[in-house]
Each structure stands twice: as structure tokens, then as C-alpha cells.
């Protein structure tokens, strides 16, 4: 695993200097997650395991100076998995210094950035590499080296990013039931001669006006999403990272109990370009059944003009989601979501329930079922990977 050494080293020195010179309060938040995965019906032609246990640990160290205007954060993360050696990984999720002066904010180091408004796919969110070793939902991210300068205005913010040091996507072992259907070479290839040290840039202007929240972003650099090409080793594909320019808009209109959402991108590679969009709504009903629970309903439509279900799961698909929030002291909730592909009629359903056990612990259970996956669909290799996940998180 590549840890950006020079930045880590210089930030470590700064951290030690600050801590030795001053007795600042250091805040620590630890999260430990113990999980058990059980897979059903793994077909016999694949040598894949059908259950495993894993543990992850994340700590956020944070301290601030100058009356809170300067913040230093370090968040190391690691996971151990009983069966998949590729899931035994660690990452520096964050190691950054943020300094805020009036309307300006300066940030340097390793950070995570989220852009966008949709729930079922994060199209416009391109700064960080997605960590698919953690989860397939695309919400876990690898830390990205960056310098970020932001200027806040009355109701908007302009942010500029310089992104040195590209992070390659990491892949599960081939015997992990959630792995890709082919073996991926250890050695990635790049369109740019600078390889993984190409410096990327991004700009985002975001804000709100009345009930409208908007964001306009531009990214230029190495695509976080690889193409898979044939390499020299038989039976193995190579992750190829092209250069791209992406222009995107994201809009949310918050109208009473309705949230209307749109994310749209235009992505340009040297040889081709494409457009993709996710549009949807979220509707909440509060205090149903005499205040017993809140119900949230989500519908999002995905479109990608490459139009091929073998390339993307989101070319002509509908996502329907439901959230039951029980307004109890344990914050119990049930989430359910389903994808349906209009072109090949593939579908997948996921249900999750979670509940607080104490002030320090939370339990959750998640079930994913891939039903009726078409042979040409990108999710075909997952057709026999229905799973049940039990997770116990401990916070201290």
C-alpha cells in the first residue's frame, strides 16, 4: 500500500512540534467494528469461501489551536479479514491541517471530500478513490493528498483543489464472493506518463439560494475509475487509468417534506466522452402510526448514455428506497433499497436494520440479494453472492 511518505513525515513533525510546545487538548474517537459475513449458494465452479469474520479499527485524533481556527486531524484505519488477504488493509483516511481565517479556509494533507446530493450513486463525487474493500455502496473512500483553498461568501463557497498523488483502486481476492469475475494485475497502467504522480486539479462552487442547494464542479486529471485491459499475463486484466475532464452540476430543492435531486456529469476522455445523470426525490412522512415512526421514501433514476449494462450498473436503472426511523431512545431504523435495470431486468435488493445497544455500541444486520442477474450485466459475477452481514460497532 502506498502511503504518501513525504506528507506524512512533514505533518508528523508539525504534530510533534505542536504537541511538545503546547499542552493542547487531544481528542480521540475510536471505532471498532466486528463483522461476520455469510454467503449463500456460492456455486461449485468457483473456489470462493462462504463465510468470514473481520475486524476494523479507526481512530480519529484531533486537536485545535488558535481558539479553534486551526485544526489538526489524523485518522488511521485498518481492517483484518479472516479469509480475504486483500481485505487486510490499512489507510490514512485523514491527516490534515485546516486553518480558517474569516471567510478563508486553507487545508493541506490527506483528506476526504464529499460532493453531491443523491443517495444511491455518487456521480459527481470524484475527488477520492472509492474503497470497495470496505463496502460495495461506494461511500467508503481512501484518503487523498490535497491542498484545498476555500473562500466562503454570503451564501456560497468557492473551493480550489490541487491533488498530487493518485490512489489506485484496491480489489478483493479472487476467492472473495464479492470480487470481480477476473483477476486484476498488481501493476496498473496509466495514460499519463506521470503515472500515479500526475497532479490533478478541481474547482467547485457551491451554495444555496432559498430552498435550492447547488454545486458546479470541474475536475481534470486521472480517472478514479479504471478501465480493464488485456495485459501480458494470461488470465489477468490490467487496471488502466485514463486522463479525464469532468464537468458536473448537482442540485437539491428542499420543498417542505420533499427533496428533489439532480446530479449530472459530462466526462471527457481523450478518445471518447459520455454523459450520465441521476435524478430523484425523497419524501418524508413524520410521526406515522401516532408518532411510532418516521417514513422516508426515495426514488432515483439513473441514466448513462454509454447505454451498456456491461460497463455500468447505472445506465437505465431505477432505485427505490425506504427508511423506517423509530423515534426511540435507541434510534432503531430499517432501511431497504432495490435496484431495477430496465434494459436487462436485473435486480438487487438490500435490507439493513440497526439499533443502538448503549451509548458506546451499535448493532446492525444487512442482507443483500441479487435476483435475476442477466449474463451480460456488470453484476453477473455477484449473482450467487447473496449475503448476510452482522456487525457490532463499539465507540470509545
Amino acid at each position: 500500500m502506498k502511503v504518501p511518505k513525504n506528507i506524512v513525515r512533514s505533518l508528523t513533525i508539525w504534530l510533534l512540534l505542536f504537541l511538545s510546545a503546547n499542552s493542547y487538548a487531544l481528542q480521540m474517537n475510536h471505532t471498532m467494528d466486528l463483522e461476520w459475513r455469510g454467503f449463500t449458494a456460492v456455486s461449485s465452479d468457483q473456489e470462493r469461501f462462504n463465510r468470514d469474520v473481520s475486524v476494523s479499527f479507526e481512530t480519529e485524533f484531533r486537536t485545535s489551536f488558535n481558539d479553534g481556527s486551526t485544526t489538526l486531524t489524523l485518522t488511521p484505519f485498518g481492517r483484518w479479514d479472516s479469509r480475504d488477504p486483500e481485505r487486510r488493509h490499512y489507510d490514512i483516511r485523514e491527516f490534515n491541517l485546516i486553518h480558517a481565517v474569516d471567510d478563508w479556509e486553507f487545508q493541506g494533507g490527506i483528506s476526504k471530500v464529499f460532493w453531491g446530493v443523491a443517495e444511491s450513486n455518487h456521480l459527481v463525487d470524484v475527488i477520492n478513490q472509492t474503497d470497495y474493500l470496505e463496502n460495495l455502496d461506494g461511500e467508503d473512500k481512501l484518503g487523498q493528498k490535497m491542498i484545498q483553498i476555500s473562500r466562503s461568501f454570503e451564501q456560497s463557497t468557492l473551493s480550489m483543489f490541487v491533488l498530487p498523488g493518485f490512489r489506485e483502486r484496491e480489489f478483493r481476492s479472487s476467492d472473495d464472493p464479492l470480487a470481480l469475475p477476473f483477476k486484476v494485475s498488481e501493476h496498473a497502467q496509466y495514460e499519463s506518463d506521470d503515472g500515479n504522480s500526475h497532479i490533478d486539479y478541481a474547482v467547485r462552487y457551491s451554495g444555496y439560494y432559498a430552498s435550492i442547494d447547488y454545486g458546479v464542479s470541474f475536475f481534470s486529471g486521472t480517472s478514479r475509475e479504471p478501465d480493464f485491459i488485456l495485459g501480458t499475463v494470461p488470465g489477468e486484466l490490467v487496471a488502466y487509468y485514463p486522463q479525464m475532464d469532468q464537468f458536473s452540476v448537482d442540485i437539491q430543492i428542499t420543498d417542505d417534506s420533499w427533496l428533489w435531486k439532480l446530479e449530472a456529469i459530462r466526462r471527457k476522455y481523450s478518445q471518447r466522452s459520455y454523459n450520465a445523470v441521476v435524478a430523484g426525490l425523497e419524501y418524508s412522512i413524520y410521526g406515522m402510526a401516532d408518532g411510532l415512526f418516521d417514513l422516508g421514501l426515495i426514488a432515483e433514476y439513473h441514466y448513462d448514455d454509454r447505454g451498456d449494462p456491461a460497463i455500468t450498473s447505472f445506465q437505465n436503472d431505477l432505485f427505490l428506497g425506504m427508511r423506517f426511523g423509530f423515534n426511540d431512545a435507541e434510534s432503531s431504523e430499517i432501511l431497504a433499497g432495490a435496484f431495477y435495470d430496465f434494459d436487462d431486468h436485473s435486480s438487487a435488493v438490500r435490507v439493513e436494520a440497526n439499533r443502538r445497544l448503549s451509548s458506546n455500541a451499535k448493532v446492525s444486520i444487512e442482507a443483500q440479494v441479487f435476483t435475476n442477474v442477466d449474463t451480460r450485466n456488470i453484476s453477473y459475477s455477484l449473482r450467487n453472492s447473496d449475503y448476510l452481514l452482522l456487525s457490532l460497532e463499539y465507540f470509545f
Binding site: N29, E60, E105, S206, Y208, L259, Y286
Partner: protein
């Protein structure tokens, strides 16, 4: 002749305020008390405080919430506030930014620290419980005068030997869970001493007692403890306030989407 006119004028002028007072309707007097309450508690500009909630169910089982709270007074509009959740630990770092606008819907954003996402949320959920407690969102929101219509009910002793005005107030904003509230306001300092909440069926739902008032910045009274009792479920929530700070300078730029991410 002139003296008679002067005398008559003096009589009229002298009598007028008395007559106005007599003619003042219960609604006018209620509004007057509410306005005075609001005026006594304005001009503080900004405040920081820590809040601890202790939720008790009918069997006496407790669970706790800790929140760090900051608020900015906005001239001619509702206040801006920022709540940073510290406990329970699974929500540590989650923060909520609210720009309240009186009768208009509030603007509200939620920050989810695990994925660094700031999400605009609907502020429609006025009557829902705040973090599973007996406080509804509307009980803790910014209390602008125009949010209610008022009616003076009477005067009586209340709390720890206070002389109080009793006023009835009817929510004028949408989606309230109450038909009405009865508030006891102390006559000397215009502080809320007790509030009764009546549900949509107009039965008594909850009682809130404000206990242990202290004066800050030589002017602003804040209670150390709020005790909310739900009479229908037998559950209760205590809200304990500590570390009030009216001195620390907070700016408008401390209350934006960017600031949400730097809080913890």
C-alpha cells in the same frame, strides 16, 4: 375658558392610558407580555453552551445525550444555531446547522462526519422527538414572537415563589404537534417558569419546568435545568445546561456549511 379646556385636555390625557389599560383585550395583553419577554432577552449577539440530556423511560432506565450548542442572534430574522452532537458516541461529530425564519420554514443542514457529507434536510419535522427525547424539535427551536398568537389568562404564584403571568399561546407555524400551550412567565424578569403542552386532541401532553435561573452578562437569564415530563407515556427528559459563554466572539462565518466540518 382656556383653563377649562386645559383642564379637560389634562383629564382626557390623564384618563386615556387608564382607559387603554382597561380596554386592552386579553389577546393584546398576552402579546404585550410575549413582546416584553422577547425584548428582555435580545441583544446578546452570540452564545455558547453545553447541553446534556438525560432520557428516562417509565421504568426509570436512563440514556444520555451530549450536545455542544452555539447560537448567533440575527437582526430582523430568526437566529442561526449550530448543534454538535458528542454523545451517544455513534453520532459523535454529527452536527446540525439551522437558520430559523419565524413563520417561514427553517433552513437546516446536517453534517455526517463518517462520509464528510453536508445534506440539506427538511425542517418540516416540528413535532417529532429530538434525539428520542421528550423534547420535540419545536420545543427547542428559536422562539420568535410571531410564531404564536397569545391570550392573557391571569396571574398566579408559580415555580419557587415567583409571581407569574399566565398566557395561552397558539402555534401559528405549520406542522405543530400542539393545539395550544400555557406559559407561566415571572413578572419581575419575564422568564419562562413553566409551560404546559396540549396535544392535537387538546389533552395535556407534557409539562416543562425551568429550574435554577442564573444571570449572565448582567442581563440575560438562563435556567440550568429543563425538566420535561410526558404525562401520557410516563417518560421524562432532563436537560442540563452548563458552560454558558456570552463573551466568546462568534461571527457569521462560524455558522456556514464549511464551519460544520471543523467543529469537533
Amino acid at each position: 375658558m382656556k383653563s377649562i379646556i386645559t383642564c379637560a385636555t389634562a383629564m382626557i390625557v390623564g384618563v386615556l392610558p387608564f382607559q387603554t389599560a382597561l380596554a386592552q383585550s386579553p389577546e393584546e395583553k398576552g402579546l404585550e407580555i410575549a413582546t416584553a419577554t422577547n425584548e428582555r432577552d435580545s441583544g446578546w449577539n452570540h452564545v455558547i453552551a453545553d447541553m446534556e440530556m438525560i432520557l428516562k423511560n417509565r421504568a426509570g432506565k436512563e440514556s444520555r445525550r451530549k450536545i455542544s450548542f452555539r447560537q448567533l442572534e440575527v437582526d430582523g430574522d430568526g437566529d442561526k444555531s449550530l448543534s454538535l452532537f458528542l454523545e451517544p458516541r455513534d453520532v459523535t461529530g454529527t452536527a446540525m446547522l439551522t437558520f430559523s425564519h419565524g413563520l417561514e420554514p427553517d433552513d437546516q443542514w446536517l453534517y455526517l462526519p463518517s462520509i464528510k457529507r453536508v445534506k440539506r434536510i427538511s425542517s418540516k419535522n416540528k413535532s417529532g422527538p429530538f434525539m428520542g427525547s421528550e423534547f420535540a424539535f419545536e420545543d427547542l427551536g428559536s422562539q420568535e414572537v410571531e410564531k404564536f398568537s397569545y391570550k392573557f389568562v391571569g396571574e398566579e404564584a408559580c415555580g419557587e415563589s415567583f409571581e407569574c403571568y399566565v398566557i395561552e399561546r397558539l402555534p401559528q407555524y405549520e406542522s405543530s404537534g400542539y393545539t395550544r400551550q400555557i406559559a407561566w412567565i415571572d413578572k419581575e424578569h419575564y422568564r419562562s417558569i413553566k409551560i404546559e403542552y396540549y396535544d392535537r386532541k387538546n389533552s395535556l401532553l407534557k409539562t416543562l419546568d425551568f429550574i435554577g435561573y442564573n444571570e449572565y452578562a448582567e442581563k440575560y437569564w438562563r435556567a440550568d435545568r429543563y425538566e420535561m415530563m410526558n404525562h401520557q407515556t410516563g417518560k421524562s427528559t432532563s436537560l442540563l445546561w452548563t458552560n454558558y459563554d456570552f463573551e466568546r466572539d462568534l461571527k457569521d462565518s462560524d455558522f456556514n456549511q464549511k464551519a460544520l466540518k471543523r467543529l469537533l
